[in-house]
Amino acid sequence: MTPDNSVDKALLRANGLSASVYNRNRGREFHFFRNVSFHIAPDEVVGLVGESGSGKTRLGLSLLGLLREGPGLYAGSLSYRLSDAEPLDFSFQHNGGKKRGEPLRKGLAPVLGKRIGLVMQGAKSALNPYQTIGTQLKDTLALAGCPGTQIPVVMEQLLSAFSLASRSASIAHRYPFALSGGQAHRVMIALGFAMGPDLLVADEPTTGVDSPIQALILQHFKAFRKGTLGPPRHASRPRPSMLFITHQIDLMKGLTDRVMVMYAGELLEVFHTSQLGQRPHHPYTERLMEIANEAGGRAAVHSIPQIPGRMPVMYDPPEACVFADRCSLANERCRKEKPELVVDPQGQGVACHERH
């Protein structure tokens, strides 16, 4: 790792993280992600962009020790430097068929829900069906250490911010089955904010909702980062960091400080959002940006930018550049040699032979 100050003080540092699951029928390992190294500094929002199946959700869950299947994490190390908590360090080795996620889950148990929060995908199934929304919110706030007198105030604030208390009857007394999909989605995000965490992992919080509501949700995330939404924080604690997982690269501009681009279980590029378009990018990022920025209108349909081919199957990921098959710049070297992601002191880097 680089001797940069920000990296040393990082809230979370992952080094060479790899995870897989063994498929008995195929007799092979299915790789979720391989050799992923990154860090998240305090008060930093990092975006994780990738298409479905690239392993971004698994990476997010593994940071919370929630990767259940089979071997899970088998290589690399994770270290957390959370406020008011002991420094936590975990390292993983390939040690046969033992339950590898176990120590991480046990070690993280005291800080989960207090210092590390999660906004899950699939809102309806992620809520407890036997408890009212109010109870779930209250419990979450109490667990996160919110003082008892503050709980009703914060609840009221969260519910009204998410337009969950505007009707005659507040949603706090309802059970999850009585909510519409959109309401459940907002409850899920409110629960994530209620934890008041140092690190919030938000897994696709804008997927599956209409664009005006996406805009509102994005606005809530900005407010949470500023500290105007959610439980009160002690002055000694830094503002929350976030890992914002999404497949829409265009959402990154206003919210995130840095963006990590993930493809086929590997990080292809890390860059500062402010330098978007001002530095050499990975061809995949370029393509994504091209699609996001394409001109509208019917005239453009024929020249619509596309990425041909499909993502490699993660049973036997290529030992060369994972994007070589779909890349227009690919040459012989790309198909033989794997490019390294070298992160510079500013926390940026590209894993590509052609672009540095």
């Binding site: 664009s211 005006p212 509501i213 206003g254 919210l255 509208g296 019917r298 349909v301 619509i304 499909r310």
Partner: protein
């Protein structure tokens, strides 16, 4: 729709009510009230012509999927006043006399592939159904006469032959979606009703499918593209209808640039929010100041505009009363735009 050309779908004043349960139905009969009856569609007019694409914009819960089911004849209960005609004939009559021919020519892409593919069947079996429906003989299918066609379609959609050998619960959400699109494309229909075909798909696949749709459209396939994504509809559709609470509030010919000259307040919200997501300014656009995440209780049966509670312009003193008490009439503005909003009424009166 006055011009009754013999081709395509013509939907005239389609009104659909839903009763939440049988119990409520009985209560309603007893008390003679329409308490609890949800109006899904309200006097909706629409036409789908071959070789043209109609885009239907609206948020979830505004009746888009109900409309698609009505067009497909999967949902037959509707107001007696409403009429749906398919190629000059009443849809009910078409379904009674020659359902098979109708199904051969009209196909639908469903929104949620998770529940719309049989989880226990192999993808191969379900894809091969497309050839069967097209009227190809079993011998031809088994002899592999369509392998080349299938291979090309698979390649366009980013699927492999191995994916065909999986049952649909072994496929990922995106793969299922593409599998159901593959099925519809292979069935070679004359009309495609696409209900949110791009939700849950990655941008790279989205653009490839959009291009495939464009090719089909040029070959004369009529499209109804139901979506909540303004970005997609403006690229593909010839006509765009913006729907709110089961009624079309703004219909216009899609200009080449994709941005309509006249905008209904709701259309404006949709366009501006898309722009906001792409540019990500610091503050929410002003027009979304009153916009709440949920639709209000009010619908088109009561007087007044249902969008009033979320509308930026409804606080305007001149309009306040009109918005609350008068249902906005349909008006034609700047040639191709048909709107339902008091804002434009006021504008027309002023000069």
């Amino acid at each position: 729709m006055k011009d009754d050309h013999g081709q395509g779908f013509v939907i005239d004043r389609l009104t659909v009510d839903f009763t939440p349960s049988r119990l409520l139905d009985q209560l309603k009969r007893l008390r003679n009230k329409d308490h609890g009856v949800v109006r899904a569609l309200h006097e909706l007019c629409l036409a789908i012509a071959p070789g043209k694409a109609v885009g239907l914009l609206g948020e979830s819960g505004c009746g888009k999927s109900t409309l698609a089911r009505q067009i497909m004849g999967l949902l037959k209960e509707r107001d007696p006043e409403s009429r749906i005609t398919f190629e000059g004939q009443d849809l009910d009559k078409v379904l009674d006399t020659d359902e098979q021919a109708f199904r051969n020519s009209v196909q639908m892409i469903f929104q949620h592939p998770d529940t719309f593919l049989n989880p226990k069947l192999m993808a191969r079996d379900m894809v091969m159904e497309a050839f069967h429906i097209r009227g190809e003989s079993k011998a031809d299918i088994q002899a592999g006469r369509f392998h080349e066609e299938l291979g090309k379609a698979l390649d366009v959609l980013g699927l492999t032959w191995e994916d065909l050998e999986k049952t649909s619960d072994q496929l990922s959400g995106g793969e299922k979606k593409r599998m159901s699109i593959l099925r519809v494309i292979l069935a070679k229909p004359r009309y495609i009703i696409a209900d949110e075909p791009f939700s849950g798909l990655d941008v790279s696949y989205r653009n490839r499918i959009l291009k495939q749709f464009e090719i089909l459209k040029e070959a004369g396939v009529g499209f109804l593209l139901i979506s909540h994504d303004f970005h997609v509809t403006k690229k593909f559709c010839d006509e765009i209808c913006v729907m709110y609470k089961g009624r079309i509030v703004h219909r216009y010919e899609n200009p080449e640039s994709g941005v309509p000259e006249v905008q209904h307040p709701y259309t404006q919200v949709l366009i501006v929010s898309n722009d906001y997501l792409a540019r990500c300014h610091e503050a929410l656009p002003e027009i979304m100041g009153k916009f709440k995440p949920e639709m209000g209780e009010k619908d088109w049966r009561t007087a007044g505009c249902p969008f009033e509670d979320r509308c930026f312009y409804s606080d305007n003193t001149e309009l306040k009363d009109a918005c609350r008490t008068k249902t906005p009439p349909e008006q034609r503005v700047m040639g191709s735009h048909v709107l339902r909003c008091h804002l434009f009424e006021a504008k027309e009166q002023q000069p």
